[in-house]
C-alpha cells in the first residue's frame, strides 16, 4: 500500500499542520510515512504545499508526480495543482475559496470548509475539516488516531483547543457523501 | 489659488504595514476594506481634502507605493486609487 497525499494553499491556512497531523496519524496507526512542506521564498503571503506519502512498508520516493489524493485549500492552489490527480484519485476542495471545480477522472468532494469553520467559531480549523473529509473518504487512515496525533502536534498550551478540533474533524468526515 | 493635493496609492504594491497611516499628520489615509491580490487590505485615501502635501506618508512607505501631486487647479473629484477592482 502506498498513498500519496498532496495539499496546497496559502501561508496561514494550516497546510503545514494538516500535513503533519496526517503524518502523525499514520505513525499512530503503525504505518510508515514521509512528510514534507515546501513554501515560496516570501516569508509572508506566499504559497505552501504539503506532501504526505503513507505506506505499509518502506516509503520509497517522497517525490510524487501524480497523486492519489489532493487537498485544495484555495483557488490559486486549485488552478495550479488540479492536474496532479491520478485517475481514480480523490480531491477534497475547500469550495469556500476554490469555487466550483470540474474533474474528469477522479472523485471530487467539495466542502465549504472556511464557511463551516467560521460557523464553528474559528476559521483556523478549516484545514481540520478538510482533513476529516479526506480521512473518512479515502479510508487509508482511521479517524480514531486523530486525537493522539493532535496531542503530539499541538503544543501543550494549545491543548484546550482539542475539543474544537475533534468537532471539526468529525464535521469534515460527515461531509463524505 | 488654493493648493490641492492628490495622493496616489499603488494598492497592489501596498502591504498594509500602516506606516503611512501612522505618520500622516492629517489622518488622510486609512486601511481599505478590500483585499489586494496578495491578500492585504491596502491603504486608501480617506480624506483627500485634508492633505497638505507634506510627503510624510511617501517618505515612510517602504514599498514606494505613494505618489503625491499638486494640482494646478482646484478639483473636487474623488481621490485617485489604483489597482483594486
Amino acid at each position: 500500500m502506498r498513498e500519496e497525499v498532496f495539499m496546497a494553499g496559502t501561508g496561514g491556512q494550516g497546510v503545514v499542520s494538516a500535513g503533519s497531523l496526517l503524518a502523525e496519524m499514520a505513525l499512530e496507526q503503525g504505518l510508515e510515512v514521509c512528510y514534507i512542506s515546501v513554501y515560496s521564498p516570501e516569508v509572508r503571503g506566499g504559497w505552501v504545499t504539503s506532501t504526505v506519502v503513507i505506506a505499509d512498508g518502506e516509503v520509497g520516493s517522497p517525490i510524487v508526480g501524480e497523486v492519489d489524493s489532493l487537498l485544495l485549500f484555495d483557488k490559486r492552489a486549485a488552478d495550479e495543482h488540479l492536474g496532479k490527480i491520478r485517475s481514480g484519485g480523490l480531491i477534497v476542495a475547500n469550495s469556500s475559496l476554490t469555487g466550483p471545480l470540474t474533474v474528469a477522472d477522479a472523485e471530487l468532494i467539495e466542502v465549504p470548509a472556511t464557511r463551516m469553520a467560521a460557523e464553528l467559531g474559528n476559521e483556523q480549523v478549516t484545514n481540520i475539516i478538510l482533513l476529516g473529509t479526506y480521512v473518512k473518504a479515502r479510508g487509508v487512515l482511521q479517524l480514531s488516531h486523530f486525537e493522539a496525533a493532535l496531542k503530539t502536534v499541538l503544543p501543550e498550551r494549545h491543548h484546550k483547543h482539542i475539543p474544537l478540533n475533534i468537532e471539526a474533524v468529525n464535521l469534515g468526515a460527515e461531509q463524505v457523501p | 489659488m488654493k493648493k490641492r493635493f492628490r495622493v496616489v496609492i499603488n494598492q497592489e504594491h501596498c502591504k498594509a504595514c500602516g506606516l503611512c497611516i501612522e505618520f500622516c499628520p492629517k489622518d488622510v489615509l486609512g486601511a481599505s476594506e478590500q483585499r489586494n491580490r496578495a491578500g492585504f487590505h491596502p491603504v486608501e485615501v480617506k480624506d483627500q481634502d485634508s492633505c497638505t502635501g507634506c510627503t510624510q506618508c511617501a517618505l515612510m512607505c517602504p514599498d514606494a507605493c505613494i505618489e503625491i501631486y499638486r494640482l494646478a487647479v482646484e478639483d473636487d473629484r474623488e481621490p485617485v486609487e489604483e489597482g483594486v477592482e
Binding site: - | 505618520f23 514606494a64 494646478a72
Partner: protein, 255 residues
C-alpha cells in the same frame, strides 16, 4: 492608472524614483529594506547616475535587488560584495559602484572584504542594512543582534558570555584612513528618513568626486524575525536599537 491623464499636468510633489523598476519588492510588510531602496534610488536619480551605476547585490533578503533597481547589477557571493565592487571599479573606473549589504553579509562573513576595501580607500559606496538579524535565512543571530534578543539561534536571548557583544561596524571603520564618508542613520520617522537620504547622497557624492570609500549604515527593521508588527518594530528601533547604535556621522565629507 485611473485619472493618470488628469495628473499629467499636475506638479509632482513625490513620485517613485526612476532608478526603481516597476517590480513589486518582495520584502515583508513594514520592512525598511524597501525604504532604503527608495532612498538610494532617489539619490541616484538626483545625482544623474542611473546610466553609470552598477549595484552589487549581495546575499540576504535584498538578494533580489537586481530586480528593483533600474541599473546594471552584479550579484556577489555572500559577504564578497566589496571585493566584487572593487573588481568592477578598478576595471571600469567611470562606473559608480555600490554594494547593498545586510549585517550578516557585511558584518559576519564579509567583514574582511569591507574593511580591506575601506582601507584601500576604494571609491565605492556601501549601503549597510543593520537589522540585527539574518532575515533571509529565517531569523538567526547576526553579529549585530542585541544582548538578550531572541533569535532562532539564540532561543534564550543573545548571551554576551557566549556570543560576545553586538558588533559596531561604524565604530570599527571610523579609524580607517581610506574612509571618505561614514554615517549611521535610521528610517523610523520622516526626519530620520530625510537624514538617511542626505547621508546616502553624501556617500555617493564622495564616490563621484573620487574621494574614497563611503558607507552608510541604516538601522533597519525586520518585523518578522523580531516577532513584531511594523509599528512595533519602528518603536523597537527607537527604544532599543538606537541605544546600542547611536546615530552619528563618523567621517564627514564636503565636496
Amino acid at each position: 492608472m485611473p485619472d493618470a491623464q488628469d495628473l499629467a499636468d499636475a506638479e509632482v510633489v513625490y513620485r517613485r524614483p526612476a532608478a526603481l523598476t516597476e517590480v513589486q519588492m518582495r520584502y515583508c510588510p513594514g520592512c525598511t529594506h524597501g525604504t532604503a531602496h527608495r532612498l538610494v534610488a532617489e539619490v541616484l536619480e538626483e545625482l544623474d547616475l542611473i546610466d553609470r551605476t552598477v549595484i552589487v547585490v549581495t546575499v540576504g533578503c535584498s538578494v533580489y535587488a537586481d530586480k528593483y533597481f533600474n541599473v546594471d547589477a552584479v550579484q556577489a557571493a555572500h559577504g564578497r560584495g566589496p571585493a566584487v565592487a572593487t573588481g568592477i571599479k578598478r576595471s571600469s573606473p567611470e562606473s559608480i559602484v555600490f554594494t547593498y549589504q545586510g549585517d550578516g553579509d557585511l558584518a559576519a562573513i564579509g567583514l574582511s572584504e569591507v574593511i580591506h576595501t575601506a582601507q584601500r580607500g576604494e571609491s565605492i559606496t556601501v549601503i549597510f542594512i543593520n537589522n540585527a538579524v539574518f532575515g533571509m535565512t529565517r531569523g538567526q543571530m547576526a553579529p549585530t543582534t542585541l544582548v538578550g534578543q531572541k533569535t532562532t539561534t539564540t532561543p534564550r536571548g543573545r548571551d554576551p558570555q557566549i556570543a560576545g557583544m553586538p558588533m559596531m561596524v561604524c565604530e570599527l571603520l571610523a579609524s580607517i584612513a581610506g574612509v571618505a564618508y561614514l554615517a549611521r542613520e535610521t528610517m523610523i520617522d520622516p526626519k530620520t528618513v530625510r537624514n538617511a537620504k542626505r547621508s546616502i547622497k553624501k556617500a555617493f557624492q564622495a564616490q563621484v568626486d573620487g574621494a574614497g570609500f563611503s558607507l552608510v549604515e541604516l538601522i533597519s527593521t525586520c518585523p518578522v524575525w523580531w516577532y513584531k508588527r511594523p509599528l512595533e518594530a519602528i518603536a523597537w528601533i527607537r527604544e532599543e536599537m538606537l541605544e546600542q547604535y547611536p546615530l552619528q556621522v563618523f567621517v564627514e565629507y564636503e565636496a
